[in-house]
Assembly symmetry: C2
């Protein structure tokens, strides 16, 4: 066959003028190599981790729509003081979308058995109609699983499993998680319930607490409640958590978690001017609040706060651990790792101002799926 595959894909460009420009661009794929496949993408989630590349640090209030209905163009202004963070991507039209799923429509000689199969993919540039990649970078979905079932096979499931693997590797026995009613947070609850890992869920609203109660979460603490700090200490005392994963990043929450851990660790112990010897760690993996992290060091010297990212974690954990994690995701695709989407949109729809505003809000329980074949 020699017909080239042509399709549209979402691109994000930071211009030299400091604008962020979203558009649909036409892309032509050449024939796959012997080890490659071409996948017609049918489902790609909008994860919080995609928004950093898609929208960058642009000011949402400056959104201007242009182009046509089929080929919309959306322009946003990046505040001057935020330009430094995106200088290295200026002028480069960047494809977006960490993960997705679809049907193999062309396969190289060495991977011919994948033709027609529905596969999950990780590797970026998934907000596109056709994606070429190595066959071994695809995972063939189990019988009966749709592209939507397999669209979120990697980012949230592997991140949630990465939390419990990090916990074990670093010698902790229980976890604290913030923004805990998120899709990822719900998965983490299902993993922890199945594996007997005590988990303290921190949420910011009663309705989020209700979501978690419904799926059987035992420890839920509402940071907007007046007795938040006391309840957090109570939950940490009951679970023995000395490790937290924080999706919020900005503000005082990471420090509050460390402080509560120290209150528990120093109970009944003799006074030490350096605080307890209990190593208390919070990893920041998200940026729901992009403001500064404020750490009031009221917890001695055995503490750490740091960034956590899936890719370096997997590189450090090694192929055996990662293989085990991947297999579990496939085995429990429709249970533990099921994602629920509140809305499915097409590529052009994903660039409509009201839609962008909606998925950018990251409201709890809302999750968007892009179907580029619509």
């Amino acid at each position: 066959m020699t017909d080239a595959f042509e399709g549209l894909e979402i691109r994000s460009l930071v211009t030299e003028e400091g604008d962020l420009r979203l558009s649909l661009e036409s892309v032509t794929l050449s024939e796959p190599q012997a080890d490659e496949v071409i996948v017609q993408v049918q489902a790609a989630p909008i994860n919080p981790s995609d928004l950093g590349l898609l929208l960058g640090p642009a000011d949402m209030a400056t959104m201007r729509a242009g182009g046509t209905a089929e080929r919309p163009v959306l322009t946003l202004t990046i505040p001057e003081r935020r330009l430094g963070a995106v200088r290295t991507r200026m002028g480069e039209s960047m494809p977006v979308g960490n993960e997705g799923a679809g049907v193999v429509v062309r396969a190289g000689a060495n991977v011919a058995d994948m033709l027609g199969k529905t596969v999950g993919m990780l590797g970026g540039a998934m907000y596109t109609q056709y994606r070429k990649l190595r066959g071994r970078d695809c995972v063939v979905l189990p019988e009966g699983a749709s592209a939507a079932d397999g669209a979120s096979l990697f980012v949230n499931p592997l991140t949630a499993l990465g939390f419990t693997e990090t916990m074990k590797a670093e010698g902790h026995t229980a976890l604290v998680h913030t923004a805990a009613a998120s899709n990822l947070g719900q998965m983490l609850n299902r993993i922890c319930l199945a594996d007997g890992i005590p988990l303290v869920n921190i949420v910011r609203r009663e309705e989020q607490a209700a979501i978690l109660r419904d799926i059987g979460a035992e420890w839920i603490v509402d940071s907007s409640a007046p007795d938040f700090e006391a309840k957090l200490v109570e939950a940490i005392a009951a679970t023995g958590a000395t490790l937290g994963f924080d999706a919020i990043g900005g503000g005082k929450l990471a420090g509050q978690i460390l402080h509560a851990m120290e209150v528990v660790a120093s109970r009944g112990a003799a006074f030490s001017r350096y605080g307890s010897n209990s190593l208390k760690q919070v990893y920041i993996y998200g940026m729901l609040d992009t403001g500064p992290t404020i750490i009031d060091r009221t917890f001695g010297l055995s503490w750490g706060v740091g960034g956590w990212l899936l890719t370096p974690f997997m590189a450090k954990a090694g192929p055996e651990v990662v293989g085990r994690m991947r297999q579990r995701v496939l085995d429990e695709l429709k249970t533990t790792f099921a994602s629920h989407y509140t809305r499915t949109i097409g590529l052009a729809e994903a660039l409509q101002p009201d839609v962008v505003q909606a998925y950018q809000n990251k409201a709890t329980g809302e999750k968007y799926l892009i179907d580029p074949s619509l």
Copy 2:
């Protein structure tokens, strides 16, 4: 012999009323066991790490003098909001002084050869006239070394060596240090110059920069200069430092160091929304500023900030590394690890309001030595 040794020692007490009370108390020592010695303490430094226990979080402006000239009592108020940090030491009269040196005046049967020797000691309660401890917790000083020479054998030297050992263990090749003109900072410069470790010194005043220039420091950056951030980037680029040790703790400095490291790490690299893969770490080991640490996360997700403390470091490093560190300190006692004291004071003098105020200021270049035998 049956004469008991009786002497005075400094005590720090947090009362139930929330006062901090400093006094001299009389202590009587029984005969040493077979493995023990009694040392007449002749020199014990006032390190920044001693002040936390000695003065706690008391408000210096509330200092009231009482007692007699020989047995002074000093009382300070602890602000209500700071009481939580000292609740576990309330009512307990605590001896102070991490390290010191003196002459062995009594020795148990198994350590009889130590009698009359001048020894260095680590173990707390050194602001005292006579200290009983196990012979193996003393280090016999080299021929010709005085008690003053051996008084600061542990805290600063082992901390400075701990920084370079941590650097090697965690895969870094150069260091950033703050409050770099301190006694500890000067030692660190001598170590790094001898070992060929590039070191970026951050100071806050020109006179501190001058101190470091005089001892041959190559990279000195003044955080009060208008071009501080640019100079810091330049020094980090030249040295390749990805690890910092921070004595200050509060404020934005730790974050600024991480930011400068990231600027260097991402030079010439393709844009990544998660920042560079270069792991950037700052350890906070002091509290010159007790305010919150403010981390503006402008450096991706490969970063960490945490507490660093000598004792857990040594426990983790193991006896071989610690043995090597201790031997080096003894070998280079009068060169690399020489401490210079600006004033020597007696026990009672150490509780005079003007003297307390002076050593509490922690002015660069000033260092106090207590000689309890005065």
